[in-house]
Subunit: 197 residues, 2 copies
């Protein structure tokens, strides 16, 4: 296993096949054989490019998080006020979940099922170096708005952030709701502004 172009392309191909398989059968029923079949390669090749199953899952999770973060961040930076950034964050996040449904499902499958070497699942892990996560982006927007007077200073950014992320993730788990995503996004923005504006 090296870092050649071929190896890098192959690894991404396997990661993509892993995402497809996760969405179709879930982590619970996923096997390396199924991923290999999806990627139209032999099972041994996966072991050649990834140390073991957990290593493949770690790379797949990293891929999914990076894509989502990149999409949302690119939308947020287009705005130049905290209010507009907040709106962009909420809408981009909800939009991504709808347009990249397969990725969202794969992400959920890994986060709630995969466990590290010590048996700790991702959803129970302490966010070690939350240097650059989605939550940090959101908290920074809230702080910026407080500092420049767009938002009131009478709320704790961490709690409002939980509030917003909770509402977004709640929607992530119920995409089949009777309420269209667009409307949900608009209403959520309205509510948040009523809270902090």
């Amino acid at each position: 296993m090296t870092d050649s172009f071929i190896a890098e392309a192959r690894r991404e191909q396997i990661v993509l096949a892993c995402i497809d398989t996760l969405e179709e059968v879930g982590y619970h029923n996923l096997s390396l054989t199924k991923v290999a079949k999806k990627a139209r390669i032999s099972t041994g090749l996966i072991s050649y490019h990834f140390h073991d199953k957990l290593d493949l899952m770690n790379h797949t999770l990293q891929f999914l998080v990076a894509k989502q973060l990149d999409f949302i961040r690119r939308n947020v930076v287009l705005s130049h006020s905290a209010t507009k950034k907040l709106e962009a964050f909420i809408k981009a996040h909800l939009t991504y979940q709808e347009t990249h449904y397969k990725h969202t499902i794969a992400l959920i499958e890994i986060v709630f099922t995969a466990r590290n070497e010590n048996g700790v699942p991702y959803y129970r892990m302490e966010d070690e170096q939350e240097e650059d996560g989605l939550r940090t982006i959101l908290v920074d927007i809230l702080k910026e708005g407080q500092q420049n007077g767009e938002f009131t200073s009478s709320f704790q950014t961490e709690i409002v952030a939980s509030f917003i992320i909770g509402a977004i993730e709640e929607r992530m788990l119920k995409p089949n709701s009777s309420i269209p995503m667009e409307q949900y996004a608009v209403e959520l923005v309205k509510m948040v502004m009523k809270l902090i504006g």
Copy 2:
């Protein structure tokens, strides 16, 4: 397998062992052998009292949901205004997650990992007959408050309910937060009242 007292007690014992095992190793690494060992019985006895592994999980999920629902409902009915009921709902829900942490973890493990005969996980299922779920209780409280004038009528109960449940479940996944549960509950109640009061 019958419905005798012995069988009923044995089934509950197995369900409790299942909850313990879920919390310790997760659904992913759970086996009927481990559940049997936890319950200090033979493996065959589980198959005697439950049709198969999925049947055990269904009973365990039903047990967990019923316990949680019962606790929250008992707290809510003590209050006699929509405002107080809403406060009781939020605080009871958050309190239950902290005092019954093991049950919360087991619930998450089943909902996000177990799949029915058709391969559909619980978290992706349409809530068939949501006759009596937590969400219904919450929506009913919101409707009651709107009808008797405690709350404004300018919001959609379904969306605010998602908002509230999202904030509660977000906390469920991050119990190790720097913010104490009590404070989180108080702030959440304040925010919701600011939204709808």
